[in-house]
Amino acid sequence: MATEALGWWGVPLAIAAGTLRGSAPFLFVSLGECLTEKSGKINLGLEGTLLTGAMSAYAIAYLTTSPWLGVIMAGVAGMILGVIHGWLSQQPRVNDVAVGIAMIIFGSGIAFFLGKPFIQPSAPPLPALQFGAWSSLPQVQSALQISPLFLIGIAIAPLMQWFFRATRWGLYIRAVGDSPDAAKAMGISIFKVRMLCIIAGSFLAGIGGAYLSLYYPGSWNERISGGQGLMAVALVIFARWQPMQCLYASLLFGGAQAIGPALQSVGIDSYYYLFNASPYILTLLIMILTCSPKRTLNGAPGALGQ
C-alpha cells in the first residue's frame, strides 16, 4: 500500500475505502435477514449461506469464466439452503435458532466439501466502476473503485423499505410477522409467506457471498467469511428491522472492520487482532445499550422467534 505517503491522512482514507469495499456482504446478509425476520422467523444460518454462496459463485465463475453467472448461481445456492431452513424451521416444536446453527454446520460443510478443488485456481473477478478518475492521488482512485454489486445492494435497501410500507405483499409479510393469527384470519398462508421470505432472504445472502469471493477479498478459501453471516442477526436488531437502517448499519460495520488494517498500514499493529474484533465488540455494546428487559425492542415483529 502506498498509504505511507499520506501519513496520518491515510488512516481515514483507508477506513473510507475499506467501508466502501467491505460493507457489501454486511448489507446483503442484513437485508436478507431483515426480510426473513419481518415474517417472524430468525435465520441464524446465513453464515452457511454466505459461505455456500461464495463457493458456488467462485466455482461457477471459474468454470464458465462469467462472474455474473457466478453471482446468479450464488443466489440460487442460497435459495436451496433457504428451502431447507424454511421447511424445517416451520415444523412443530422445531426451534428456528437451532435450525440456524445446524444450517451453519451443514452449509459450511457443503461449501468446504464442494469448494476444495477451487482453492487453488483463480476465477475472473467482478469488474469495478472507477469513480476516482478526477483525483490525481492513486490512493483516492483505488478507494473509489466501487463494485456494481454494492450499488445494487444500496438500491435494494430503499426498495425494500418501500415494499414493506406500500405494497400489498409487504403488508402480508408484516401481518404474518406481527400477528400470525390476524394474518390467518385474512386468509394468508403463514407457511407460504415465511417460506418465500426465507428463500428470498437466503438469495440475498448468497449474493453477499458472491461479493466476497468474486470482488473483495476476491478469492475462495475456508476463512473467507469470518462470521459476517452471523452478524446479520445482530445487524438487524441494530437496524431496528428497517431496511434503510440496515444500509447505514452495514456501512458502520464495514468501517469498523477496516480500522485494524488501516492502523496497521501506518505502523500501529500491536492491537491488530483486537481492532479486527471491533465489529463484534461494537455490536455487543450497542445491544447492551439499547436492549431492555422491560419491553420488547422497538420495531421488532411481534411474533419473532415464537
Binding site: 435450525v99 444450517m103 445482530a234
Partner: protein
C-alpha cells in the same frame, strides 16, 4: 369396557413406557436416517457409501487403539456440550461454547505459567480453577446481560466467540508469545511435569474423567437437587417461577456460570493434556460440535456422554476418510450438519406415534 378386555399392548405401553420408548427409538431412527442421507451424499460424491461407513466404524470403534482416539475427542465434547445443555434447562439457547473453551484455555495457560515452580498437583488444581473461573465468567456475563439488560443470549454468546478468538490471537501473537514459535504463534509451553497425564494403561488423558464426572454431577444437579428443580421450573414458565418467588436472575447467572466453567474446563484439558500451550489449535470447533452433542442428547447430561463418544468417533474418522476414500476433511462437517438437521426434524415427531394416554395410534 373392562380393563381386562383391553389388548395387551395397550396396557403395556402406558404413558411412561411410551415416553421412554420414544426417547430411545426416535433418536436412533434419526441417526439411522442421517446415515442413509450421508450415504446418498457420498454416492453422489463418487465414494462407495458402505466402504465409507465401514471405515468410519473401523477408525472410530474398530479396535481398542481406534477407540482410544475416539475417547480423546469425546472428552472435550462432553464438557463443551454442558455449556449448551445446562442453560437449555432454563430455556436459554447458548452457543458460546467455542469462546468459553478458548478463554478457559487461556486462563489455564496463564495459571500454569505463573505457578511453574509449585508442585505439579497444585499447578494442575490452579489451572483447573483458573479455567473454570474464566469460562464461567465469560458465559456468566451472557446470563447477566440476559437478565439485567434483556440482551438475547444466543447472539451475545455468538459475538463473544469471535471476541475470544481475537483475544487468543492477540495474546499468543503479542504479550504471551513464545519467540521460538515461528510459523504458528503460541504461548510459552507449560512444563512437561505439570501436564495432565494419561490414564494408566491407555493413551487417553485424564480429561475423559473430568468430562464423565462433570456430566454425572450436572445430571444430579439438574435432576436431583432443589436448585435443578428451580431451574427446570423457571425454564418451563418464567412467570410462574417469579410468582413462586424463585430468584430467576440468580438462577440464570448461576447456570450460565456453571455452563461456562464446564466449557472452560474443556479448554484447560486441551491445553494441559493435548497441546501443552495456547495457540490457534484451541479454536478447533469443539464448541460447535458440543452444541450438536447437547441437542442430540436432548440436553440430558448423561445421554451427552454417549453422544459425545459417538460424535468423537465420527470426528476421529476424518483422517481415514481423507486417506482411504479421497474425500475432503469437510466430509465430517457435512455429516455433522446432516445429523443435526435430521435430529432437529425428529423433535417434531415426539408424541406423534404414541397418544398421550395409553394406546398406539395406527
Amino acid at each position: 369396557m373392562y380393563r381386562s378386555q383391553l389388548p395387551i399392548t395397550k396396557i403395556m405401553i402406558n404413558r411412561y413406557n411410551s415416553r421412554t420408548l420414544e426417547a430411545i427409538c426416535i433418536p436412533l431412527a434419526a441417526l439411522l436416517f442421517s446415515l442413509l442421507l450421508f450415504g446418498i451424499f457420498c454416492a453422489f460424491a463418487g465414494a462407495d457409501p458402505f466402504g465409507v461407513y465401514a471405515s468410519i466404524y473401523r477408525s472410530a470403534f474398530g479396535s481398542w487403539r481406534a477407540f482410544q482416539n475416539t475417547l480423546l475427542r469425546a472428552a472435550p465434547l462432553m464438557l463443551s456440550s454442558l455449556c449448551t445443555a445446562l442453560p437449555a434447562r432454563l430455556g436459554l439457547v447458548i452457543i458460546g461454547n467455542e469462546g468459553a473453551i478458548i478463554v478457559g484455555g487461556l486462563g489455564a495457560v496463564a495459571a500454569g505459567l505463573s505457578l511453574s515452580t509449585a508442585p505439579p498437583t497444585i499447578v494442575q488444581i490452579a489451572m483447573a480453577i483458573a479455567s473454570i473461573v474464566c469460562g464461567g465468567l465469560w458465559i456468566g456475563a451472557v446470563g447477566a446481560l440476559r437478565h439485567y439488560r434483556g440482551v438475547n443470549e444466543t447472539i451475545s454468546s455468538l459475538l463473544l466467540n469471535y471476541i475470544a478468538i481475537a483475544l487468543l490471537n492477540h495474546l499468543v501473537g503479542g504479550p504471551m508469545r513464545d519467540p521460538s514459535s515461528l510459523n504458528k504463534p503460541s504461548s510459552y509451553p507449560i512444563a512437561e511435569i505439570n501436564m495432565l497425564g494419561d490414564i494408566p494403561g491407555t493413551r487417553v488423558h485424564y480429561g475423559l474423567i473430568y468430562g464423565l464426572v462433570a456430566c454425572v454431577i450436572a445430571y444430579f444437579l439438574i435432576q436431583r437437587t432443589t436448585f435443578g428443580f428451580a431451574a427446570r421450573v423457571a425454564g418451563g414458565n418464567i412467570r410462574a417461577a417469579r410468582i413462586a418467588g424463585l430468584p430467576v436472575g440468580k438462577l440464570t447467572i448461576m447456570i450460565c456460570f456453571l455452563a461456562g466453567s464446564c466449557a472452560g474446563l474443556a479448554g484447560m484439558v486441551e491445553v494441559a493434556a493435548v497441546h501443552g500451550r495456547a495457540n490457534e489449535s484451541l479454536n478447533a470447533n469443539y464448541g460447535y460440535s458440543g452444541i450438536l452433542v447437547a441437542f442430540i442428547a436432548r440436553h440430558n447430561p448423561l445421554a451427552a456422554t454417549l453422544v459425545a463418544i459417538l460424535l468423537g468417533g465420527i470426528l476421529a474418522s476424518g483422517g481415514s476418510l481423507q486417506r482411504s476414500h479421497n474425500l475432503p476433511d469437510a466430509t465430517v462437517l457435512v455429516f455433522q450438519g446432516l445429523v443435526f438437521l435430521v435430529v432437529l426434524f425428529s423433535e417434531s415427531l415426539y408424541g406423534r406415534f404414541f397418544k398421550d394416554g395409553s394406546a398406539v395410534t395406527t
